[in-house]
Symmetry: C2
């Protein structure tokens, strides 16, 4: 039985299907869920992506936005659930219904297999890769809209084909998605050519505050609530900052601390090969991948920085 | 007759073959020439890449470096020449020999067909794509070393698969190169993880001096000789700066002015779709592609900036 026919067997008696994202969905999570939703819609189902947060405006150009239902209640209706790119039940933002099939499609090593059916492939570079294979399994053609969503999923989660997770298969999938009509011009325009000017401002502030530790094996920067709020930078992406920091020769771990609310600090971690920042994040109840992870802390910014940098130094000493 | 057998027919009576690069060879030019050189070496030829300049250290990890012969004389010996990624004879840095076959392998729209045999494919995203097809033509296996060179060629010239030149075929080639053993970990390490710290310093200075013109349709920054020399930044790459500037929403043309010697100013230009900065560069005796070009000016930095910004504004007004 193929993965697709297994999923169809679980949902065939239902019409409405709930698709779930993780908190602050990225391009892979959203692109994958939209692609699957559009596909299910084409198959006669009524899929809805339930989510309680505002979706990142950056992705508002993706097809299928009307599938997204803003839903703030904690408890979901009794309809089958397909969670996409969610490693664990506590990342779903809802309590799962009890008497319907739960399907778990993910590529995180740390997936907890919380579904009745778990399609978990840690070797996939993106959830989008799994969804692509799933839809190919179904042996129907992939529309240009679906291809656009999947291309964004695969391209963003591989850092545009730069991360070590990128395999030959990833490239073959990207090529096929272009042939299916993925709107790469639109994607390029929205993801790379319409960045807010404030992104440059936050890079400048971050570079002003840049610091090294452990003989420059660690590089970090910390943005206080005052810095961020005074400049209207609370919602500005810092992905470019951390990849700039990580790119420096000799650096093994790069960290960006952001005090998003007074005394609430989000930490982004990036490591080079051999430096598992997921372990580090887990120590602070966060998580992610070996080379890209995150965690949150409560308290004074300076103290939080000291705590995390100390732990990072300990980790590097053990290697 | 395939392209490969055509080339073989031209060079079969020779043992030594000269490969030529263009001035300041980029990843595509160098990767393509090294790949072809290694392949010809495997076929029993003695290929040498003649070049009068120091090769960018960034690419010193590429296999086949011993094929590069530092050669400052203007006139080449009478051996067959294969020029790679060179649009015109005046980009070759040498006078071509008269009585031997000249082969011209390139992907520039503006190629002048200066060879006895011209393998020019403007629709190819990189010269590396043409070399890949050429070697596949030869129906022998591609070594891991050759795959590494070709991967660098294709990845760098497409801005890591982001530029509009990237096609499905580009992705299929990248996937095949991974399967042939391209050392992507090594490539990632050298191209993205060993950047000089000074790259962050120059970004910071450039952002400090950022300015807009024409209702923010133009963004520019200017680095004086004093700024650059005082901080040891004269040889630091500014590619990241200009792509950061170009990424801002609403910006149509981005410019970076660098006074590399007192009163000698290099200008990098980037445009979005519909804004042909090549035309602009040509006005100042420079050139390049529609969305990425460059030119040089002599004189006072401030005056040069004013001159170029004025011309850029004129160009935008006409659109």
């Amino acid at each position: 039985m193929t993965a697709w026919s297994k999923i169809m067997s679980l949902i065939q008696d239902y019409q409405q299907i709930i698709l779930l994202l993780h908190e602050k969905p990225d391009g892979d999570c959203l692109g994958s869920a939209l692609a699957l939703g559009l596909y299910l819609q084409g198959e006669g189902f009524q899929p809805l992506i339930y989510h309680p947060e505002k979706i990142n405006r950056e992705f508002s150009f993706l097809p299928g936005q009307d599938l997204i239902k803003y839903y703030t209640k904690q408890v979901l209706p009794e309809k089958p659930v397909i969670a996409v790119d969610c490693a664990a039940e506590n990342r779903l933002l809802y309590t799962l219904p009890q008497n319907v099939p739960i399907i778990n499609i993910d590529h995180h090593q740390s997936n907890t297999f919380f579904g009745d059916y778990n399609l978990v492939e840690p070797e996939a570079a993106a959830a989008g890769e799994i969804i692509f294979r799933l839809l190919q399994n179904a042996q129907k053609s992939i529309s240009a809209e679906i291809a656009t969503c999947l291309y964004v999923a695969v391209a963003t989660d591989t850092g545009y084909f730069r991360h070590s997770s990128t395999t030959a298969e990833t490239f073959f999938i990207a090529g096929k998605l272009l042939n299916y009509g993925a709107a790469v011009d639109l994607i390029r325009e929205h993801l790379f050519e319409k960045r807010p000017f404030k992104e440059l401002k936050i890079i400048k502030i971050a570079l002003d505050k840049l610091q090294f530790a452990q003989e420059k094996r660690i590089v970090w920067t910390a943005l206080s609530y005052e810095d961020l709020a005074a400049n209207g930078l609370l919602n500005i992406d810092t992905e470019k900052i951390i990849s700039l920091l990580r790119s420096v020769a000799g650096v093994q771990v790069a960290l960006v601390f952001k005090e998003l609310e007074p005394r609430k600090i989000k930490v982004s971690l990036r490591g080079k090969q051999g430096y598992d920042v997921n372990l580090l994040a887990q120590h602070f109840n966060g998580g992610g991948h070996a080379q890209a992870a995150g965690c949150s802390l409560e308290g004074n910014l300076k103290e939080s920085v000291n705590l995390v940098i100390k732990k990072t130094a300990d980790l590097l000493e053990k290697l």
